[in-house]
Symmetry: C2
Subunit: 190 residues, 2 copies
């Protein structure tokens, strides 16, 4: 009974979460995702606005129009008590492992089909990407540590940043290792 339908609903709770942080407009949420959650989350307007409307319909959020002189009218959203409740319930459900696809690894696994230099380029490009990611994470982190008024969520945000750093550093090490292996393969070939 009650077939165990697997619905993702990620966007729904991301939006609800941002409401719980005090973000009030769809626009602000998009900016927040781009600027702060970029390393582990993404969200598009096409998801955000319909989701906000739906949350209001379900009574998990409220909406009020704000008319301001000299600025565009905007819709201000706020989370309701039942919204907070549903968010808390979702937070404690262990996320089921999401099947991830890595285009890089797929390409690498077929590396035998191309010249070894091409494979190495693939890895070197990826290594550079990781380095860029690391410096980007560093920027977010220092921005987050700087001002005295610690946000209540700050300690948790730091944990997510540390995760990003740990992964990227592991990837860097793997790139180095893999470049060596590719070099050996290219050598044997001759």
């Amino acid at each position: 009974m009650s077939s165990p339908k697997k619905r993702r609903l990620g966007s729904r709770y991301a939006v609800l979460g941002m409401l719980s942080m005090g973000l009030k407009t769809g626009y602000a949420m998009k900016k927040h995702v781009e600027g702060n959650l970029g390393h582990y989350w993404s969200e598009s307007y096409g998801q955000i606005y319909p989701t906000l409307r739906q949350l209001v319909e379900e009574g998990l959020a409220t909406c009020s129009e704000e008319k301001r002189k000299g600025k565009p009218t905007r819709n201000l959203y706020a989370i309701t008590p039942s919204g907070r409740k549903e968010l808390r319930e979702w937070l404690v459900v262990p996320p089921e492992p999401q099947p991830q696809r890595s285009e890089l690894l797929l390409k690498l696994s077929l590396g035998d089909r191309v010249a070894s230099g091409k494979c190495q380029k693939l890895i070197r490009d990826y290594r550079e990407q990781c380095e860029r990611d690391l410096s980007y994470l560093g920027e977010i982190e220092s921005a987050l540590r700087e001002p005295p008024p610690k946000h209540r969520d700050q300690p948790y945000w730091l944990m997510t940043l540390r995760h990003g750093r740990a992964i990227r550093e592991a990837e860097l090490a793997w790139c180095t290792e893999t470049l060596e292996h590719l070099g050996q393969l290219a050598g044997e070939e001759k």
Copy 2:
């Protein structure tokens, strides 16, 4: 001009790649994905069969029906020279960073909304998942190393396995670190 449409096309090349490895049926490809690529790729029948048909239409693969006594009839596919060419071209295009979403990190970032024990459980569960993944990767690896007849792709498959291991080990370390941080937070709270 020529608007830069971003199409993913991942499944297309995954299938083409498996054809280039000598896999001949859609069924076999599904099994191969489940058994060997599971740690970095997934593919469903709903993708595989239509893709195979499309590849034949485009001349990148051929199809022949094989009738066997005592076994179900099956369609045998094979890659064509132009298929190999297109695959090789795709292989050297650097994959653009795919926006990834981590439900775990999203939940953790909102950890302030639930009791600290709940957060710790989230991380402990995740740590166990990583450990399971690691032993699964170990199984694949030993199966891959065992028999003398080295597959031509074996060295590359080992690289992807090392990637999985590197990431999972980094995640384990992060879990440990994060549990400590959560413990401290819970302590301060009192």
